[in-house]
Amino acid sequence: MHLIEAVLLEPVGCLAEFPAEPFQEIAARFFGRNKKASRSGSRAYWHMLNLMDTAGQPIDAAAEALELEAVDQASAYDDVLPALTELKAMGIQLLLASSLSSVAITHFVTKCGLAELLSAVWTRDNAGGIKAAPLRSAIGGASLDPEQVMFLTDTAEGLKVAKSVGVNSILMMNDPDEARRLSMHEPSGGIVSLHELPDFIRLVAAENAQGAATHDLRLPR
C-alpha cells in the first residue's frame, strides 16, 4: 500500500450507527420498494443510493427530511473524535465524502463536533452526484493521488465504489459475521474500530520507509 495522505469518511456506518428505517422509508415512498426488515442502516442507505442511481433523478425535500431524521437518530461511535483528532495531528487530511444531502451532512458535522477536524466536506449537492461522485470530488478538490487515499465502508456497495474510484477500500468490521462475508470482496484492508486507523497508517508509513526504527504502536496514547 502507498503512503496514506488522506482518509475519505462516509458518516453512515463509518462514523456513526444510523437507523435503517428512514432510508427504507425513502426507498418505499419515493421508489416504490417494499420495506425490508434489515437492521443495518448502512445496507439500507446503499440500497437507497442504488435506487436513486437507477432512477437518475434527485430526491425531493420530503426525502431530505427523512435523511435529517436519520442523522438525528444516528449515534456516533465513541472512538470517532479521539481517532480523527489523532489522524489530524499526524497530518492526515480528513475529507468527509457522502451521498447524503448538504443539509443532512451539515447537521451531522455540527451534532458530532467534527467541523474543526475536517479538511473538506463533499455531499451529493456540491459533488453533483452520489456514490462515487463525492469521493471523486474530494480527491480532485484536494489534488490527491487515489492510491494515497483510504475510504472506509462497511458494505459491499461501498467497497465496489472505492474500487471504481481507485482508492484503498478499508472495511469497517463493525459486525464480525457481515465483515467475514465482505472480506470475500477483497478489501484493501480492514479495521475493527476507528481507533486502529492511526496505527494502520503508521504501519503503512513504516513499510514504506526502509529500515524503520522500533516504534511502539501504543506510544502516542
Binding site: 500500500m1 478499508i170 472495511l171 468490521m173 464480525p176 459475521d177 465483515a179 467475514r180 472480506s183 478489501p187 484493501s188 484492508g189 480492514g190 479495521i191 475493527v192 486502529e196 496505527d199 494502520f200 503508521r202 504501519l203 503503512v204 513504516a206 513499510e207 520507509a209 526502509q210 529500515g211 524503520a212 526504527a213 522500533t214 516504534h215 511502539d216 504502536l217 501504543r218
Partner: protein, 331 residues
Amino acid sequence: MKNISIYRPTTVDEAIQILSRHGTDAGVYAGGTDLLVRLKNRLKQAPTYLVDIKKIDNLRYIKEDAQGGVQIGTATKLSELAESDLLQKKYPMLIEAINLISSPELRNVSTLGGDLLQEVWCQYLRGGYSCWRNGGYLCYGAIGDNSYYHSAMGGRLCYAVYPGDAATALIPFDARVKLATPSGVKELSVEQLVPGDMMVDGRIQSHVVRFNEILTEVVIPPPQPGLRASFEKLRPRGVWDFAMASMAMSLQLRGKTIDDARVVFGGISGKPLRETAVENFLKGKTLSADLGDQAVSVALANAAPLKYNSTKIDMAKGLLASGLAKMNATA
C-alpha cells in the same frame, strides 16, 4: 517452500553481522519449532537467510550467579530447563510451566529464546491468510473463529494472543533478559521484552527485538524466603496445546500475609498480561479460603472478548481462584 540459505556463525558478534547484512530477510534459527513451521507454511514474513546460533557455545547453560539468582542461555532447550535441579530447587513453578509447554518431543528441540520470541499461532496466519503479520491489512481472527488463539482483552490491528508460556511464568520472578545488539548489550525485563503488538522494523510482532539483535540470556533474581509461586494452564487439548488461558502468580508471604504479589495471565491477550489490579488487591491481605473469590471480583475489568472467546475470561478468573486456593492450602 522457498529456497533458504543457512549461516552457522560461532560467535554472537558474527551472527549480528550476518543479521545486519541481510536486514529483515534474515532470522535467528535455534530450535526451529516455530521458524521452520513458518517456512513450511510459506509465510511471507518467514526469513530467507537463517542464522543458526546452535554452534555458538556460550548460549546454552543454566548457572547460579553470585547473588543466588540463575542465568540461563537462551539456546538452552526447554527439556534441559525441565530437568535442571538448580531450577527445581529455586523456582519449581518454572519447571511446572515448562513441562506444560507443547510435547516432550518438541521440548527436546525448542529453546527458551524461541519460546519467548515465537510468532503467534493464529490459524489464519499459519494458514497463509494475508493478515497483518503476513503482508496484509486485516485480522481474520477478529471476524472468524476466535475461540482459541485470539485475544479476549482487545487488540490493536492483530488480535492473536501471545502464545508463549515461559514469559508468563518468568514475569512473576521479575526475570530480566539480555540482548546482544550492534551497539552492545541491552537489558530489559521480560515484561518489556514482550509488550504485545509492536511495530518493529516495519512489521507487527509481539516482542521488541529488532532484526539485528539476539536474545542471549535470561536472568532470574534470587528467590526471597517466603516466596511462593504457582502456574495454572488450561488447553483445548489436555495432552499438548497452547493456553486457552494460563495464570502465573508469585506471592511474597510472611506467614499467611501477602507482602507482595505478581499475577500474570497468559493466553488471553496479545502479551503476557500482568494484572496489577489483582496484585494491588492482594497486597496486605491474608491467605484464606474466600480470598480467591474476592480477587476474582477485581480481575480483568477491561476484558473485551471477541464473538467466540468470552469463555477465556471465565477460565482465567477460575485459574486465579484455583491458584490462590492452592497457595492457601499449602501455606
